[in-house]
Amino acid sequence: MAPPPAHPQRSPSPSQPSGKSEVTDLRSQLRQLAGSRAPGADDAKRDLFKKVISNMTIGIDVSSLFGEMVMCSATSDIVLKKMCYLYVGNYAKVNPDLALLTINFLQRDCKDDDPMIRGLALRSLCSLRVANLVEYLVGPLGSGLKDNNSYVRTVAVIGVVKLYHISASTCLDADFPATLKHLMLNDPDTQVVANCLSALQEIWTLESTSSEEAAKERETLVSKPVIYYLLNRIKEFSEWAQCLVLELVAKYIPSDNSEIFDIMNLLEDRLQHANGAVVLATSKVFLHLTLSMADVHQQVYERIKAPLLTQVSAGSPEQSYAVLSHLHLLVMRAPYIFSSDYKHFYCQYNEPSYVKKLKLEMLTAVANESNTYDIVTELCEYAANVDIPIARESIRAVGKIALQQYDVNAIVDRLLQFLEMEKDYVTCEALTNTKLESSSMQVLVKDLLRKYPQWSQDCIAVVGNISSKNVQEPKAKAALIWMLGEYSQDMPDAPYVLESLVENWDEEHSAEVRLHLLTAVMKCFFKRAPETQKALGAALAAGLADFHQDVHDRALFYYRLLQYKVSVAESVVNPPKQAVSVFADSQSSEIKDRIFDEFNSLSVIYQKPSYMFTDKEHRGTLEFSDELANLSINAEAGDSAVPAQRVEANDNDLLLSITEKEEGRDAASNGSAYSAPSYDGASATSAASQSLADLAFSSTSGSGQAPASSFAIDDLLGLDFSVGAAATPSPPPLSLNPKAVLDPGTFQQKWRQLPLSLSEDFSLSPQGVAALATSNALLRHMQSHSIHCIASGGQSPNFKFFFFAQKAESASIYLVELLINSSSAKSQIKIKADDQSTSQAFSTLFQSALSKFGTA
């Protein structure tokens, strides 16, 4: 059942009790003024309009005044007109019938003598965004595009895009894209040209999914004549338009090297531009043009370095942040380029911490043999900083640099100095700043020791002096305990410290610390058995009684090992140590390359390629080589099914980034609530998403895929019955391999290759819907039926799952896409199979498994 349409006039919220009476007040005043031609009427009107708009701004609904506002709008005063346009633009969508009233005066204004008014009226006219008024738009837009004033033309060009979004067919029928193209190549005003370019990109990109011709047109935008035409005029463009052009040039593939150098020579002075966006866009062009020429590419790094560093130091903190993110990407590709400019990344005292953090990362990345000493000295300054998180970060950075193997002597010295700083503190009370710092540092010292065993002697002297009682943080404590166990032969009181820790076993809340304690006691035992024996016994007993599964298991394991043979236990617990050479890098190079391709975009800031965090639908209009678009899993969905399409857009992301599913899901859920952001599952019942869901369902049945949804229900019920009645006697006709494996890549490939063999709609039991609320419940349930989930996503009420299963004793794989709408309890499955003949049997099996979901 669709929810009742939202009442146009919301009741004023309790926090604004005066809202309603104020609105009635305003209405009567407006009425009085409507026909008045008295001198001063305009001033009075202006005050009233101002009141109305200020109410609108603070969120009071003044849409009920629409009629009166329109009546008052017959005026020659331009400020009044502007306010009126603003009001009309805001409320026309909710009052489509009344909006018709405004058409008349807007159309008249479109023919005004003053180009300013013509432009404003045209802009407002296109901003009404009411579908049944498009017929009135075409005329004024057509004449606007031919207007002799460039201001009107710029407005008209953007108006075409707005029209396209309201009604694509009207826009195309009027042949506006062709007009825009003509304007783009011939108009003397560069702002008009730039607007045409952005408009054409938007229209053709959207159009190209359905039309070959549009795709071809879109390609011509990056063709040589167009690019050259734009490049030759680039200095006349406004700075923002330059960004647009540069973005386009970055897509252009020059035919030979001389062309590349021509373009770079032409654009070189753009690097000196005051606008950071232009500089960054130019850098992108340079980097992309020279990708194939390794030596020139290196020169480009040198060339763009200085302008980018300027941006870091000259701009606001927000700008520095964006530029630094890009520098970080560059330094990952070419660490040496900034090695002599490391002083640029020294932190200033009152920079915001997000900038400092990035600068610390930069310092870590640019450190090499020649500058390590300076950098580490500087980092140590921050360690005594008042800003605690940054102090911690900087000590961590020191550790990271140490792990990069440069000048270890100096660094270990430094780190030990920190520890000694701590030493003074040990006598002091509770948790002070430096203690926090040094606790994070101990973790590092541990990592260091793993890598440089030869340093252990020096460290031990220091570490031995730290009383474990004063270390609070679990990670630091675990690190300290690890060191105690590892170097117990050199620390005279190690067994006794461990013993006292074991005695306080119950007070130790962190399982990680208890695990480390167990191992440390074991290690200590093999080195100094007589002193540790008692502690070991106590630790094993405590471990066996521990309620934490891992701790219990490890204690049991050690116990049995010792029982079996002490020498074996020793070789397990105390194997000869090997230095860690490199700690695994967190990001694969493939992903880094991908991010580099998306230079000058949000990807760089998030350090993730865009497919991991944006919807396909929302990926930039500039996305020309969108390989992901080729995946188009469900090409059969109609354009009208907006919500369905969105869910689909998410599929690619789901499949591609199963590991990043968690992050991806936030972004992927965008689609389900365009205008009503739902921040948690609580909005499941919100009217907006409900109606969307209904729409989704009606559109799927409209496409003729669900002729017998009621039939399916009967079928399902019957099935349910038979399965329930004769569960054991007759084995299911199809048996599945419970240990089937399939990697996401293969799944994706198969899903693309195989034809759709079956598609069915059916209803879910209420219990099943209820059980959906628990995350992963369905996945576990299906797994118990040998059907494995490979990806899932969506947000209430729309869920989407991808499953696969393998036929027992056969390589035949079944792929399933399951859509569930929890508010209507409907679901739809699409099955693709290697072996088409058995897909019906599999479908039956799948549905019976699903029908049992929630009932168990």
């Binding site: 101002k50 708009i53 200020s54 701004t57 603070i58 969120g59 005063d77 331009i78 502007k82 306010m83 969508k93 180009p115 300013m116 802009r123 965004r129 895009v161 309201i166 702002q191 607007n195 952005s198 200095k235 406004s238 700075e239 923002w240 070189e268 000196q272 005051a274 950071g276 966006a277 960054l280 200085a306 300027t310 000259a314 606001s316 927000e318 700008q319 942040y321 964006a322 002083k343 020294y346 200033q348 500087e378 005594a384 900083n385 008042v386 700083m421 002091c428 700043n433 975009s601 949000l602 990807s603 919807d615 929302h618 859920s669 965008n670 609530a673 205008s675 009503a676 952001p677 739902s678």
Partner: protein, 415 residues
């Protein structure tokens, strides 16, 4: 492509909402943003680019006002941030400041400005001169004018000529009775001095600000006597690149009125005009602080508005600081400011006193950074000198004026 711009007050109230595309962005996004920044503590610490569940948000924080832009599309983040910064700058110039009341009083103007600055999510023009010709600023002059002439419109009824001229930043038909050009060198010195008193970093960030009132379409050239010291130069779009590259000459057709012609940086300077020497010794739960300030005075100019500011570490319970010159004040957030003013000729100002540490703490382990402020009129500390300014193409006589000023930028002394 931006979808919506919000202006939020420092209490999180939506002061202004400007929808840019057909997809309306619901206001609730502001609520989400505000909850987020409260949970982060200080909204200043919030990242400039945030991913909300439904949109990507760009935020720029100026004078208590948050400029928030939303998008769902991949776009160059710097472009969005840069644009918001421009919006803030333009509003600042238009309203003569930036605060909640000014925005609320003039919200119609702000709407009008945004209308011209961005359409369909794409920035159009942010050039102040052009905007001023389209929408008159709400200054006293225009108010007086409106009272006298009786027309109270703040919108000029003609379109700016620049929209149709070949020089986008200038109208072709400006006329002045008195032709004059003022060139200001405004420099900021950034320096870091470490605890041994050694100069770690000392550089000057400078801007050449020009205020030009010249009839017609003038073509100006400006040259320096020592351009080779300049590093990292950035130019206003009006500056031609070739003459600079070959002869280090600035050749340009200036916009009308005040604008920033170029910015530059001069690195590796050898000395600062002022010295600040903090000494901290701590023992037995108390800490003695002594700060000396003095002028190196090799420029022969007086140093004005000298301040020394630092944050007391949180482990300090109380502080008793006195100075022999100027005033010392400690705020509730433990920011200590020493206002010296002009450095006297006869004595060196110093501040000293004791600070009591938290009980149990023997010595101080966190060392504050001292931030120094000063101002010197009539001197550009980078040493940059203007050689000459010439006017071509227009046969007028005109008045030229040059000034220079240096302020402290990020001037830090570590202890």
């Amino acid at each position: 492509m931006l979808q919506c711009i919000f202006l939020l007050s420092d209490s999180g109230e939506v002061m202004l909402e400007k929808q840019l595309t057909g997809h309306r962005v619901d206001r609730s996004i502001c609520g989400w943003f505000w909850d987020q920044s409260i949970s982060q503590g200080d909204s200043f610490k919030q990242l400039p680019v945030i991913a909300s569940p439904t949109h990507y948000l760009f935020q720029v924080f100026r004078e208590g006002i948050t400029f928030l832009a939303c998008t769902q599309v991949e776009m160059p983040p710097l472009m969005a941030i840069e644009f918001l910064c421009r919006v803030a700058d333009v509003l600042n110039d238009y309203l003569g400041g930036l605060n909640e009341d000014l925005i609320k009083d003039n919200f119609i103007i702000v709407y009008e400005l945004l209308d011209e600055m961005i359409d369909n999510g794409f920035p159009l023009t942010t050039e102040l001169n052009i905007l001023q010709e389209m929408i008159a600023p709400p200054n006293i002059v225009s108010k007086v004018l409106s009272v006298v002439t009786g027309t109270s419109s703040n919108v000029s009824d003609t379109l700016p000529g620049a929209t149709s001229s070949c020089v986008p930043w200038r109208t072709a038909d400006t006329k002045y009775a008195q032709n004059e050009v003022y060139v200001d060198l405004v420099e900021e010195m950034d320096a870091t001095i470490n605890r041994d008193g050694a100069l770690m970093k000392c550089e000057v960030y400078g801007e050449v600000q020009v205020n030009s009132h010249i009839t017609g379409l003038p073509d100006l050239t400006l040259s320096f006597t020592n351009p080779s010291i300049l590093d990292q130069v950035r130019f206003h779009p009006c500056v031609r690149f070739r003459p600079w590259e070959s002869h280090q000459i600035l050749s340009f057709v200036p916009p009308d009125g005040q604008f920033k012609l170029m910015s530059y940086r001069v690195r590796k300077l050898k000395s600062t005009p002022i010295y600040v020497k903090p000494q901290l010794t701590s023992d037995g739960g108390t800490c003695r602080l002594n700060v000396m300030v003095g002028s190196r005075n090799d420029h022969g100019k007086t140093i004005d508005s000298v301040t020394v500011q630092f944050q007391l570490p949180s482990c300090i319970l109380s502080a008793d600081l006195t100075s022999n010159h100027g005033t010392v004040s400690i705020l509730a957030d433990k920011t200590c400011t020493w206002n010296i003013g002009r450095i006297p000729k006869d004595k060196a100002p110093s501040m000293s006193g004791t600070m009591v540490l938290e009980t149990g703490l023997e010595r101080l382990h966190v060392f504050p950074t001292f931030r120094v402020g000063f101002k010197m009129m009539g001197v550009a500390l980078s040493g940059l000198q203007i050689d000459k300014l010439d006017l071509k193409t227009v046969p007028y006589r005109f008045y030229k004026g040059f000034r220079a000023v240096t302020r402290a930028g990020e001037f830090e002394v570590r202890s």
